[in-house]
Symmetry: C2
């Protein structure tokens, strides 16, 4: 209570946060800057450009929210949806389910496309729902469902939504930086992510992007956005002010230093190379897990490479395994969430951690505690 | 764009952020921890206790929101107010005005008690408004109005509100840590602050506290809280879970390290000593400013010690002065905001910066650019 805090130097192989590059940690402790300092505005502009590179977009409304990924989820939904709007949410896991809760809080008319947890969203089910609900305004889904390990076909889902005239919101929390994401090519109207997974930064920020069509729609809403903090019209006057930036909130300067450095590392590697690295190392990890008798829940073609759900073998005390990993090996892996609680572990191999050394560490630790 | 970012080591004497203690900066770059790691839950418990000390409260619902002070403003209002509720907001500046915007977004019935910018809220005006609006559910006001430099009498305002059966929301963004704040003694139902002013931490977090009465009220709302991210019922299951903490969002571990260290520094000094230090140094700064012909806007008895609004002398180009201070002396002071834009500068002397050395630096720099 009266002492400075010294965290264990954990090996973080859960669903995120993952370990952070030393360059990013170092950036966090640089001197603070004012949120309207010309040098800081310059940093914001660089972050914007780096995020456009990362999201593969030319959207001018590309920036970072000063809060975690779940704030990004709320911001995307609350800006694009007006009370009474019909919204189709494709639900095959915990995070898509959270989307439905937010849609209900906003007062949207919710239509759920239900999928089995651990499988990708079936595009035919979305098409059926849209045929029955041609007045749908927005289709929302999770690209990489962190609770199940399933990677849905964002391109196809987006095509179907647009065919029926709906706008598309995609959760790219666990995919951005680690898995192919192409906002412009796939015509995503709003996408948000987090800082602590594929981007390999500390937690607490939410990169977000809106298409010009989405921005136009938000500007022309009949009912004002039901949040002040998340109102895109207000936020953009700070991030994209025409000449002078208008004060909106006090941006967390040191968090932004960290994000800038993490995005720079990603650009130095090349984002396509990062996608390849995550896939290659994931394949290696899966092969090694199989060798010790552990099987992924999700079929190979539907699997998020950087976040694996692993079936808990019969007779194994899953909590004891996680506790032993933490206490004996300083290794964090994730528990199952929602419907999959007690049924799977979640093993992340993301960002700075996606390398052979971490694979070895994970396998050797698991071998020890499972023996 | 392709280089690591190196911020100038600014002297931050605007309305916040202020400079950060080296111990806090160092804490930021410690290794990240998972948001459900037992060690991290322990850190959250310590932060809670330190915040109770800082707010002078025993409220169990005392914690930190993972976003800046303006998120805290929205969270306080959106949890306590239901659509249709009558809400009195006392407005004598920019930030109280922001409260009215949020109340309207929530669908509250807004009653404004208007005060002159630069003066404290007149308690009689509040009493008159409540006499005319006996069905008022919530009274909201700003303790230390950052846009004007006026420090309202939070104790008296709270007494009047309770006399008429209303709950009280107080903005303590610029007061907490630097000016006397006593949540329990003054019976404040909800108060929020920020991390980068009196607490001398980096920006991006919002300490917040709710009275047991407020928590009970929120639990029993007829209409669910119109935000998922800010829904106290959900957040408390993470911060105050009965046995096990439920996942809500991924907390920004490294930001929390910084806040913990900053709160520890405040406790080491003793909060009463911190209040005294801010007052003593403020008096010295005001005396020195007067020597060089600069006058505070706010009468002495109504003044926020740690944030002074200084009248811009006739014939002085205010923007040029601020630009020269920044470029020649690496010193940031604040511009006027809203009605006071172009009429005042805002000089902060807060947290780690509230000391004689900074007073000298500020006066000498001002002398140079004003000569």
């Amino acid at each position: 209570m009266n002492n400075s805090f010294t965290p264990y130097n954990r090996i973080l192989m859960g669903p995120g946060p993952s370990n952070v590059h030393p360059r990013v940690l170092k950036a966090l402790s640089k001197p603070a800057l004012g949120h309207l300092d010309p040098q800081f505005i310059g940093l914001m502009d660089e972050i914007k450009e780096l995020l456009k590179y990362t999201f593969k977009t030319e959207n001018e409304a590309t920036f970072v929210l000063s809060g975690p990924g779940s704030l990004g989820m709320e911001a995307s939904l609350i800006n694009l949806i007006q009370p009474g709007d019909k919204v189709v949410v494709c639900v095959g896991g915990y995070f898509a389910n959270r989307m439905t809760q937010i849609v209900e809080k906003i007062g949207g008319k919710l239509v759920v496309v239900k999928e089995m947890w651990g499988r990708v969203i079936d595009p035919n089910k979305l098409e059926d729902a849209l045929k029955q609900n041609p007045d749908t305004k927005v289709v929302a889904f999770v690209h990489a469902e962190t609770s199940t390990g399933a990677l849905s076909d964002i391109k196809t889902l987006s095509e179907i939504a647009h065919k029926y005239g709906a706008m598309v919101i995609a959760d790219t929390v666990t995919s951005l930086g680690a898995v192919e994401v192409r906002i412009d090519e796939w015509e995503i109207d709003a996408a948000y992510s987090c800082s602590q997974k594929g981007l390999a930064c500390v937690a607490g920020m939410s990169p977000i992007t809106f298409s010009p069509r989405a921005v136009e729609h938000i500007k022309n809403r009949n009912i004002p956005v039901q949040s002040w903090f998340n109102d895109l019209n207000l936020i953009l006057s700070y991030w994209n002010g025409p000449r002078k930036r208008a004060y909106h909130h006090t941006a967390p300067s040191n968090q932004f230093y960290g994000l800038h450095e993490a995005l720079l590392l990603l650009k130095e590697e090349g984002i396509d190379n990062s996608w390849k690295r995550h896939k290659t190392n994931s394949d290696k990890l899966v092969a090694r897990l199989k060798e010790i008798g552990l099987e992924p829940l999700v079929p190979e073609s539907e699997r998020i490479p950087n976040l694996l759900t692993i079936k808990i073998p019969d007779g194994v005390d899953e909590l004891k395994v996680r506790t032993d990993l933490l206490n004996k090996h300083n290794l964090e892996i994730g528990a199952g969430l929602g419907e999959l609680a007690g049924k799977v572990w979640r093993i992340g191999l993301m960002g700075y951690n996606s390398n052979e050394k971490m694979i070895d560490y994970c396998i050797n630790s698991l071998k020890d505690v499972l023996k």
